[in-house]
Symmetry: C2
């Protein structure tokens, strides 16, 4: 990867290596939240993964599989047959190769010289997915003949519906054909969810004496263009594409014939615009994002600035902001990994960015959880519980649990391992509650609070009430047989993170009930009717003080679970230094790792960070020093938490090391880590490390706190956020910080190092 100080909006790969296609396919993915596409090349390689997804179009390949985002037919495909030879960078000599993504406007450019036998051509590939029109995408290719002899060129370009999700085909083939003698259309339908798709393609060539021929195969339709490219001349082909589906919420008539019409009309209407103009239109939409609370870092290391551009770019292309029935996948829309499913990653890692900078998008994301109450009820019922138990993995909000049951092979037995998360990784329910609470605290969105948030907050507490198990011997309520955030440890009892967050969820509901009864009895009564709150609250009140909260040992260590501290320890240095994190599992299987004090990712530490108000600094420090060395960070969710917590603890050098590692999860030099898609949580983590970690922003018990502290390498940090409708900008210097707020709003009260401040327009704290 090549990054340069001169362009803080560009990520670039120089030189081509077909072994590492997955890297740039993922980290240079394009999208607009409606659709996302890996940046697979126009020509084909055996090592490629050509995936494009439309958010929310979940489908189940078969009864015994879980629903996933189907990989839609590939429209980027263009074969170039040059003097009869299929162009591929694995043949001949490639020079001056650059593949680069402009994060500012979402344009992907790939260019190089290619020599093969007597051929020498310069290729330039440009493409974008429009941020201005969600259905539209486009590709523009220039081929230049660098020789003194004409070169014969055939371009085969169209749409390929033979692609699958690693072998699972989600589509019925559907109709396909030529429309108005000009546009190619293909109309497949998902086999189970019965969502219709309409793909439309038009081509524009700039070349002389072009002959053309249509070609149809099974699930494929192509145009072939034949021409001779004179010496020292160039030709261009523009491919204009659109995708519509029958669940689109921006069209009113979902009849397939109407959708086809809509797509054709749009194509026709756009004929008057050039590629450049349509790219420009999209770039303007991107500007709106970049103008909202830009982050500026004066740093010794320009990659820090690039990293936040990279993170925000991806956070926006992956987020289906247009539809509250959809949420963010753990790999965004950039790969088949995790099947497009939504995890706790949303609430804990990505939502904070939206809460603080795009509250309208955050609202859509939390509304998804409100719409998911039915699914959560279904899951609770299936497991013998009450209330709302959120699914570990979520697809359509009402689906309930969609975690697959079987995973990869166990190295010792060779058998597939059972994925227990869908059954027993139960902290997701309090994570969702936590996310909702943060949303309402940050935005002050009263309407959402009353209409939706309260219900979630009570209904999840109701679940926890039914989940608690009474231990007669110890006279307390405990939570046995779970997986905490540390997924190496399956079937543990009283995972600290789970128990503390469940306790918080219950306590919060009890307090809320008290407050509502007093100040808004009408709302309380409505919810009481719906959720039988009187009974639920009475039950919770009986139990809450007896919920077992794992207490610190004499050394001040909060036990991760009942058995963790009694397990043996090994030196993890060897595994922590390596690229990729599966080294450990070449030596041990999951069962063996289960029996050692090895932690995959922040677990107790995450608790200390998210609920920092509950724990004294000294305890945080001790636990950080105990657990970090035992943590492999074998989850992209781990490093950012450690970066923030160590920054909180004043360990700024250590924190900055975590920060840099965390930024490199996708952007770094390790070329295989992003194959299955980018790491959405980690990208949210980049923003959090900057704004929460170094910017010092936090919501604690409903109160805003700002305590910045810059790492050595940084001279100055500027960031901004929305808070209760107010737009605030913070400039952090080596010493002190300065806040400004637009003129016309309300005062903002916040805390800093124990002091309360009121921000009217401008405030300096030194």
């Amino acid at each position: 990867m090549n990054y340069v100080k001169e362009n803080l909006w560009q990520i670039e790969e120089v030189g081509f290596d077909s072994r590492y296609l997955g890297k740039t396919e993922s980290i240079m993915a394009l999208g607009n939240g409606y659709l996302g596409s890996r940046s697979a090349t126009e020509e084909h390689y055996t090592t490629e993964r050509r995936d494009t997804f439309v958010a929310g179009t979940f489908n189940k390949f078969a009864e015994n599989e879980v629903s996933e985002l189907p990989n839609i037919p590939d429209m980027w495909w263009m074969d170039f047959i040059i003097n009869g030879e299929i162009f591929s960078l694995e043949k001949g000599i490639t020079s001056n190769f650059s593949k680069r993504l402009n994060l500012k406007n979402g344009e992907l450019i790939r260019e190089f010289d290619w020599e093969f036998a007597t051929i020498k051509l310069h290729f330039t590939f440009r493409r974008f997915v429009s941020k201005a029109r969600r259905h539209y995408l486009s590709s523009f290719v220039t081929v230049e003949n660098l020789t003194d002899i004409p070169i014969s060129i055939q371009i085969r370009s169209g749409i390929d519906g033979q692609v699958t999700n690693s072998g699972s085909q989600h589509f019925h083939e559907g109709e396909k054909g030529l429309v108005n003698g000009k546009y190619i259309q293909m109309m497949p339908q998902t086999n189970e969810s019965e969502i219709d798709f309409v793909f439309t393609i038009g081509h524009r060539l700039n070349a002389k004496n072009v002959s053309e021929r249509i070609e149809m195969g099974r699930r494929q339709i192509f145009m072939n263009y034949f021409f001779d490219l004179p010496s020292n001349n160039s030709a261009t082909i523009e491919k204009r594409m659109s995708v519509y589906t029958s669940i689109d919420n921006d069209i009113s008539d979902h009849e397939i014939s109407e959708i086809r019409e809509t797509a054709i009309s749009e194509m026709e209407a756009l004929e008057v615009f050039s590629f450049e103009e349509l790219l420009q239109e999209s770039a303007e939409k991107w500007s709106e994002i970049w103008e909202k609370h830009p982050i500026e870092i004066e740093t010794e290391n320009f990659k820090d600035q690039l990293a936040i551009h990279f993170a925000k770019y991806h956070l926006h292309i992956m987020t289906p902001a247009h539809n509250e029935h959809m949420n963010i996948g753990a790999k965004g829309l950039s790969g088949e990994g995790y099947k497009g499913h939504t995890f706790w990653d949303t609430e804990i890692f990505m939502l904070p960015y939206f809460n603080f900078t795009h509250p309208e998008i955050a609202k859509s994301l939390v509304t998804y959880r409100y719409l998911g109450l039915d699914g959560a009820h279904k899951k609770a019922r299936n497991n013998g519980y009450e209330g709302a138990q959120y699914p570990w993995e979520a697809a359509n909000p009402t689906d309930g649990e969609v975690t697959p049951v079987w995973g990869a092979a166990d190295i010792v037995t060779g058998q597939s391992t059972k994925i227990w998360s869908g059954f027993i990784e139960q902290h997701i329910t309090s994570d969702v509650t936590f996310g909702v609470k943060q949303y309402i605290d940050v935005t002050g969105d009263q309407e959402f609070t009353e209409q939706k948030a309260y219900e979630i907050l009570f209904d999840t507490a109701k679940f926890w009430g039914s989940r608690l198990e009474y231990n007669t011997e110890k006279d307390y309520y405990e939570i046995k047989d779970v997986i905490g955030p540390d997924e190496y440890k399956e079937h543990v009892n009283n995972n600290a993170y789970t128990n503390y967050t469940a306790h918080w969820n219950v306590t919060y509901a009890l307090n809320l009930a008290k407050e509502l009864k007093e100040h808004d009895p009408e709302t309380f009564e409505r919810l009481n009717q719906k959720l039988e709150l009187d009974n639920v609250l009475a039950d919770l009140a009986r139990k809450v003080d007896k919920i077992f909260l794992p207490q610190p040992t004499d050394e001040g260590i909060i036990p991760q679970d009942d058995s963790y501290l009694s397990k043996k320890t090994i030196d993890l240095t060897k595994y922590k230094s390596k690229d990729g994190v599966d080294g450990l599992f070449h030596d041990y299987n999951l069962e063996q790792v289960n029996e050692m004090q090895i932690t995959k990712q922040a677990d107790v530490l995450l608790l200390l960070y998210l609920f920092e108000g509950l724990f004294p600094r000294e305890m945080k420090l001790k636990n950080f020093e105990y657990y970090e060395p035992k943590t492999t960070h074998d989850s992209s969710l781990s490093l950012s938490t450690h970066a923030i917590l160590s920054a909180d603890l004043g360990k700024l050098d250590e924190s900055y090391e975590f920060f840099e590692k965390a930024c490199n999860i996708d952007m770094g030099e390790y070329m295989k880590s992003s194959d299955d898609g980018i790491h959405a949580g980690s990208l949210g983590g980049i923003w959090q490390m900057i704004v929460f970690g170094y910017g010092g922003v936090r919501m604690i018990d409903g109160k805003l706190r700002i305590e910045p502290h810059l790492p050595k390498a940084w001279n100055k940090l500027t960031y901004g956020f929305d808070y209760h409708g107010e737009s605030i900008t913070v400039v952090v210097m080596k010493e002190g910080f300065e806040l400004t707020k637009e003129d016309n709003g309300n005062d903002v009260v916040f805390f800093s190092n124990g002091e309360a401040y009121t921000l009217k327009n401008k405030l300096s704290i030194l």
Copy 2:
């Protein structure tokens, strides 16, 4: 392609070109009738088509598709990662490349030197599909380090269930895992027909200090082997594979757990045998085929001899001789083309070979049609007819019609064209009857005749009786709106081939009824009960003499149909000389070709050949001279018919030209013609051209006729055949021919040039 006089059992490709992988994948396909596999390379290329099929395992991907043979998970896959670089012949320098198939023992060998950076290796790949054990296949690879430095090698070998039929996935993923710490198993199931498959793989390495690692992905399971190959050393890997299914008729318990056991037991039992021994065992089975009626040609052109080896090899690997519920696909088991479906190709083109040389296999093929009566009834009923109307395309015998409804794009409109064959290409019914009649005439199989053939013969006649349409104006019965063998002409009335063969079918049934009533009234009565023959026959008797048989014009030309002769003609020279036959359709669409005197393939001429007893020589000659120039031979079924008919007509030079072209349909230099699979009918045609065309053998009206005539290039032809249980060898010289028959049988009566002969042991005719 490279063929050498010194080895008449070898087809070879020298030099590698990834554009033409399809050619050798098809023509060097391996198989044993139970399974067939394209010879795709171990390593991957974007232009490959990796197909393996198990006969009869039809499945429907979706309700709106027709059933097809599913492409089963790929077991040949082996990646070689050499010094970290994925081996591919598109990289580096390849020399001494040879890919060759030994037709005699079914062994495929590929070898070459490969240089890349500091690497220089010699690779040898050998594989076979066992003819001795239908479930077993094996691969043996040798890698030799040709340099002075050690080379690091990783072999990734296993099974890939991500393959599809051009995007349609027929399998549920199923379980997979390691068994006994040694064998890989994968157990997918077809999604609609619910056939279980069990794939088992074992590896044997001969290399030093090998470390290994299992790897599982979605629908994939691999073993990885890592070792260093010392300078000037070699290593080998043997891959042992088996396939079982729950419809196998050689195992009794079809429980998946039992099948798994069976597969593992076989693998374990075979451990004592080497690759060579198992190949030898298979070769011995092949010997039995080669020893049965070998064809020897003394010719100026050694490729003639090679061609018949090639044809017989493929006829045997494609034919599911083990199961009468299965038949031969139009592409055998060598490609996705025609979905594994059975057409009239079986009866008219492949069955004759089996009738005359492997009557037990022929019996299985005609029994398939007997088992297909239910499907034929279903089709007749659906179309408003009675009796047995055979499907144009057949899968499982009871399925009835499985022709897809939509085909490739029309060049003018860009829309998919409707495939009418399943509806109106009705001559298939008399083709089946013709095949059955030939079978019983050649073999004298009395049991089949009584138990099955009579029923087919009557039931098809019953269909024709219901199909005939009365023309009041002309007072005759006609057959309107059909497609004859010439598929360019859709919706024609009174296609000569269709009307004549229907008339023959009806006439034959009437005669048979008369004979049975007289000599075997019991059988007649049984069939009468079953088929209501009294009514049917009365109806047929009323109609038979009024069936319209298109009569020759004054010029002696039998009109192909009512309108053909009035259509305009064009000069076809341009299209006939080209490789590939789609040139015509770049200039005209099917609708336009419909309006011209252009014929795809033998139509009237096929009639004159198959029912030669009905037409005088002079008429054949005139029609040959009229129709051949109008025929594009845009069907692999055309050339052999023309070769035989022209040989019959004494046009031996012309015939030999057709012969050579026909042999080259798959074996020739045109590298794209076999992409979708070999041309099964054309391969049967090769045998027919030799034995029927030049050997002069024919069954006419139930009588054996032998009238040989050699082309100029041939000095001598030796062939043999079975006839009514007798084994006959014929040696044809430039002048005259000699017949021998094994000692201990019955006399054989035959005709030759109007004379009747009786063959006891030996007979010379000069």
